[in-house]
Symmetry: D2
Subunit: 355 residues, 4 copies
C-alpha cells in the first residue's frame, strides 16, 4: 500500500486512473528501458559497429531480461539513477557479447527515451479521451443546448443565454487541445541519443545512422541532435497538460455554481453523500476538476524552473521533472475521465434564470 | 517615479526595456481601446446597423478622443475596469451620434481586443529579438565554436566538448521559439467580440459580419466566436514566454558557471563592479537571465490558475491576467535583449578544461 | 508496485524515506481515523450525551475495527472521501450502540483530526532530524571550520573566508527551523471538531466539553472553535517545510559548486557513478537537496491557493491539500536525512582558493 | 505614466494603494540607503575606527545628499545594483572625509538594511490595517451576526448557520495574522551588516560594536551575524503576506457567492457598473480580494525559490526578491484596505436560506 493520491487504497478511488497508472507501472518502465537498450544494440549491429550476429544475440537477451530491482534501488540511492547498475546487470547476462551493450550511450539516453515511450502511450490515452470527451460534450449540447440559463458575469446575473453558449466554453478548447496534442506529439515522442556529453562523439561516425535506426525501431521521431539539456519540449508539453485540466477546471467550477441551491440549473446524479447530511448530493466530480486544474497549474511552474538545466546534464533539474511530470499526466488523464463521466450525469434546466 | 523594477528610476537600468515599456505605455493602451471602439463603430456603419455617415462621423471623433484619465481612474476603482466610463466620455463627445458607439459590445470586447493589439506589437518585438539573438548566437559559435571546453554533467567534469556543443543548447531552442511564436501569433492576435454574455446576441444578425470587418480593420485574426471565457490561448502564450526566458536562463547559468575563477572558460567584458572589491567583474547580465527565467517560471502558474474562469466572465480570474501578463512580456523582452548583449561581451577559452 | 518517486521501486532508493513513508502508511491513517471516532464516542459517554457504558462498548469495537478498504475506495469515488462509508461500516459493527457513533460530527472532523495526528508524528520525526542535522553540521564545522576557502559572491571569487562562515549559512537556519517548528506545533497538532457546518450546533450544549475531552485523549491542542475553513495553520506549516528544504537546497547548491573540478574545495565520498564515465563521482545527494528545495518551493504555492476555501467546506480546496501536503512532508524528511548523510561524506579543503 | 497595475493611471484606481506606494517611493528608498550609510559612518566614529568629528562631518553630508539618479540608473545596468556608484557619488561629495564612508561595508549591507527599513514602515501600515479590519469585522458581526444564512458545504446547501459563524472564518485568521506579524517583525526588521563576504572581517575588531550602534540608530533589531545568504526570514515574511491575502481571498469568494442572484444573502452598495448592463452591481472589491489572494499565492513560490542562494551572495536569487517582494506587500496592503472597505458596504440578509 502506498500513499500518493493516485495509487492510494481509498483516495485512489477518487484520484486514480487505472489506465494512466498502468502506463507508468514500473514493470513497463523497465520494459521501455530494455527496449531502448535492445534497439541500440541492434542498431550497432546494423551499422556495423559490432558484428550483426553479436548484436542480435545480445538484443535477444536484453529484451527478455529480468533485472534485480533491489539492486536497482540500491544503485539509484548511490548513483542518482538506475541505469549504470542496469547496464552492469545486462552485461553480466549478455556475457561475451557485452561489448554490444550500451557502449557509447549514456544513462540519460536510456531514461529520456524510455520516458518518451511512456509519453507515447500516455498521449494515445489522452488523445482517445479528448475525442471521447468531445463526443460527450456534443451529446450534452444536443440534449440541453437550447435550455435557457442565466448568463452570469462577475458572478452576477447578466442576460439569459442558451446552455450551448456556456458549454461552448468547455468544448471548443477541448477540440483545440486535441489538435494541439496531435501536432505536438512528434516533439515529445522523440529519441534521445547523445552519449555522455550529448555530442554523439562516443557513438562514432555512424552516430546519425544509429539514431535513425533506433527511432525507426522504437516508433519515435528522430531529432537532428540530442536534446538532453533542451527541456523546452517537455515544458511545453506540461503546459498543454495544464491547459487541458484548466479547461476542465472551468467546466467543473461552472457546474458547481450551476448546481447550487438557489441557482438550480444543474442536477447531478450519483453525486456524493455526506456523513452528516444524507439529503445532500455533492458535486464531487465537478469539484475534482477544479482541484486537478489547480494542481497542474501549480506543477507547471516546476517544469519551467527545470528549464534552467545547467551545463551538459543537470542532476538537480532533471530529477525535478521525475517528481512532477508523471503526476501531471495522471491528473490530466483523471480529469478527462471525470469530465466525461460528469457529462453523462448532469441534467440542465432553466433553474431560476428569471432571477 | 514608480517602483516596479521595469520602470524603476535606477533598477530600470537593469530590468527595464525601453521598447517593451513603450508598447505597454498607457497612452498606447488608450489608443488601442479607441481603435477598437472606432473599428466597431465603422463596422456598424458598413453592415448597416447604423447609417454609414453617422458611423463615420462618430468614428472620427473616437479616433482623436482624449479621455479624462482621472475619471477613468475613479471609474476603475468603482467598476473594476475603465470601459464603462470611457464609453460614457466618448458618447458625450460624440453627442447626437452616440447610438453608433459601443452599443451591443461589452467592456471585455474592448479590453481583450486592445490587449491583442498590444500583444501584436510585443510579438513583433520578440520576433525581431529572437532573430537578432539567433544571429548573435551563430556569430558566437562562428568565433568560438571549435574551442574545446570541459563538458560537465551533474556539475562534474565529464569529457571535453566543443563550445559549439554547449552553445547549441542555447541556440536550437531560440530558433524553435521563433518558429513557435510565428505559428502561435494568430491565436493570440485575434479579435474578441461577444457582447455582454459572449453570444453576440446583442450584436444582431450582422454580428459575424461586424466581427469580420473589425478584424480586417485592426489587422487581427477573426476567430469563429468570442473567446471571453476561453483563456487557453493566453495561457499557452504565457507558457511560450516562459520557455523563452527558460532557455536564456540556462544560457545565463552556463555562462555564470563558465566564468568562475578556477573554470575560466568565459570572460565577460563590461561586467559589473562591486562597492567593496574593485577587482571583480560580476556576470550581471548572465545572472539577470537566471532571475528572469525563475520570475517567468513562477508567473506562468498564475496564468494557468486564471483558466478557471467561472461562468461568462470572471472578474477575479481576468484581473489576475492583468497583473501578470504585462510583466511576463517585459521580462521576456529584457531577457532577449540581455542575452543578445551578452553574446557580444563574452570571450570563450579552453580555461582549465584539462581538469 | 507504484510510481510516485517516494515509493517507487528503484527511484524510492533516492527519494524515499522509510520513516516518513511509514507515518503516511494507509493502515496508520485508518488507525488515526478510528482513534478519532473512538475518542469522540468516549467523549460522548463522559459528557453524558450517551450512556457511558454504551460509549465504552462502542469505542472498544471502533478501536479494533478492520474496515473493508475496497468499500472505502468505491465510496471515495462516489462521495469524494471515505468517511461516510467508514461510519456506515463502523455502525454495522457496533450494532445496537450505533447511536454512540459519529452522531453530531462530520467527515471533515475525522479527516482533519486524523491529519493532525499524522502531522504530530511527522513533526516528531522532523524535530529529531533537525536536531541530528544540527549536530552533524556542528561536527562538520569542528572538523573543517578553519579551512580557508574562497568566498564567492555573484559566482565570482571575492575574498577568502573560513569554511565556518559558509557553513553558518546552513546551520543557523536549521537551528531556527527547529525552534520555529517547536513553537508552531500546537497550531497544527490540534483538534478539528465542528460538526456538519462547523458551528458545533449538532454537538449540543456539551460541545466544548466534548472537544476538550477529545483533545486530551488524542494528545492534541484544543482550539476554541473549529478551523475547518481556516487553513492558514496548514499553509504556514507548508511554508515552514519549504523553508527547511530551501535552506538545504542552498547547502546542496553550495556543495555542488565546491565540488567542481577547478574549484575542488569539497570531496564527496560514496558519490554517484556514471554509466559512461566510471571515473566520475557525482554529487548526487547535494543535487537531490536542490531538487527537493525547488519541489517544495513550487508546492507551497498550491497550499496557499487552497486558502481560498469557499463557504463552509470546499471540496475543491480541501482535496488540493491532500494532493500536496503529504508529498511536502516526505520531501522535507528526505532532505533532512540526505543533508545529514552528506555531512558525513564531505571533506573540505582549500581547493584553489588562491584563484 | 507607467504600467504596473499598482501605479497604473487608471488600473491604479483599483489595485493601487497610496500609502503602500508612498513607502516604496524611490525617493524614500534613497533616503533609507543614505540613512544606512550615515549610520555606518557615525558608528565608525563612535567606535573609534575613524575620528568622531570626521564621522560626524561625513554623516551630515550623507544625510542630506541628493544623488544623481541617472548615474545610478546607468550604474545599475552595469553593476546590477546602484550602491557602488552611490558610494562613489557620496565620496565625491564628502571629499576629504571619504575614508569615513562605506569602507568595510558592502552593497548588500546597504540594500538589505534599506529594505528592512522599508519593511518596518510597511509592517506598521499592515499592523494598523489588520487592527482596523478586525474592528470592521467585529462591527459587521455586531450588525448581522445573528442573521440566519444557509451554511453551504461543497457548494451545496447544508444546514442554516448564523452569519457570525461564516464571518468567524474571516475574522479569526485576521486576528491571528496581527499577532503573528507582531512576533515576526524583529526577524525581518533587522540590520544586515557583514562586509563583502559576510564575515565582518573587513569591519575589524569593532564589527559587533558597529552593528550594535547602527541597529540602535536605525531602530532595527541586531542579529548576531549577517544574514546575507540566509533569506528564510524574508521567505517566511512573504508567506505571512500570502496568508493575509489568502484569508481575505476566502472572504471575497464567500461574499461573491453570497451576492449571487438566487442566493441573495449579501447586497453590496457602490458596486461596479457594466458598460452593457446598467442594472448590474458587480462585486468588484470582493473579486479583487480573490485576485490578490491568487497573485500572492503564486508569488510566494518565487521567494521560496530564492532561498537557493548560492555561495556568499547570489545576484540571481537576490534580484528575484526585488522583483517579487514589493509587489507582494502592495497587494497585501491593498487587500486589507479593500476588505475594510467591503465591510462597510455589505448588508447581510437571510436571502433564500430556506433553499
Amino acid at each position: 500500500m502506498t500513499t500518493d493520491v493516485f495509487t492510494h487504497p481509498w483516495l485512489g478511488g477518487l484520484f486514480g486512473d487505472t489506465e494512466a497508472e498502468a502506463i507508468w507501472f514500473p514493470d513497463r518502465q523497465i520494459a521501455h528501458m530494455l527496449r531502448v537498450e535492445a534497439a541500440y544494440t541492434r542498431a550497432l549491429g546494423r551499422v556495423g559497429t559490432v558484428p550483426q550476429e553479436q548484436a542480435t544475440r545480445a538484443a535477444r537477451v536484453i529484451e527478455v531480461f529480468d533485472p534485480d530491482i533491489d539492486a536497482l534501488r540500491r544503485a539509484s540511492a548511490r548513483d542518482g539513477l538506475p541505469v549504470p547498475d542496469l547496464v552492469r546487470q545486462i552485461k553480466d547476462a549478455v556475457g561475451a557479447d557485452a561489448e554490444a551493450v550500451h557502449a557509447g550511450m549514456t544513462s540519460q539516453d536510456v531514461l529520456d527515451t524510455a520516458l518518451t515511450l511512456t509519453l507515447h502511450e500516455i498521449n494515445r490515452l489522452l488523445s482517445e479521451r479528448l475525442s471521447s470527451l468531445s463526443t460527450a460534450l456534443a451529446d450534452l449540447t444536443d440534449r440541453y443546448g437550447d435550455v435557457q440559463i442565466m448568463g452570469r458575469t462577475r458572478m452576477q446575473a447578466a442576460l439569459p443565454i442558451a446552455f450551448a453558449q456556456r458549454a461552448s466554453g468547455w468544448s471548443a478548447p477541448v477540440a483545440a487541445h486535441a489538435a494541439r496534442l496531435a501536432s505536438l506529439r512528434p516533439s515529445v515522442e522523440c529519441l534521445q541519443l547523445g552519449g555522455p556529453v550529448g555530442d554523439r562523439a562516443t557513438l562514432g561516425p555512424q552516430a546519425d545512422a544509429i539514431a535513425s535506426d533506433m527511432a525507426a525501431q522504437l516508433g519515435l521521431s528522430n531529432p537532428p541532435a540530442a536534446w538532453h539539456t533542451q527541456r523546452e519540449g517537455l515544458a511545453d508539453y506540461a503546459g498543454l497538460l495544464s491547459l487541458m485540466t484548466g479547461t476542465l477546471g472551468k467546466m467543473g467550477q461552472d457546474i458547481c455554481l450551476m448546481a447550487q441551491q438557489g441557482i438550480d440549473e444543474v442536477q447531478i446524479s450519483g453525486g456524493g453523500g455526506s456523513s452528516a447530511m444524507p439529503h445532500k448530493q455533492n458535486p464531487v466530480l465537478a469539484e475534482l476538476l477544479v482541484t486537478l486544474a489547480r494542481f497542474n497549474a501549480t506543477q507547471v511552474s516546476a517544469v519551467h524552473h527545470a528549464l534552467v538545466h545547467e551545463q551538459d546534464r543537470s542532476g538537480a533539474a532533471w530529477a525535478l521533472e521525475w517528481m512532477i511530470l508523471p503526476q501531471m499526466t495522471k491528473a490530466t488523464a483523471r480529469s478527462l475521465a471525470a469530465a466525461r463521466d460528469l457529462c453523462d450525469r448532469i441534467t440542465v434546466t432553466s433553474g431560476r434564470a428569471r432571477n
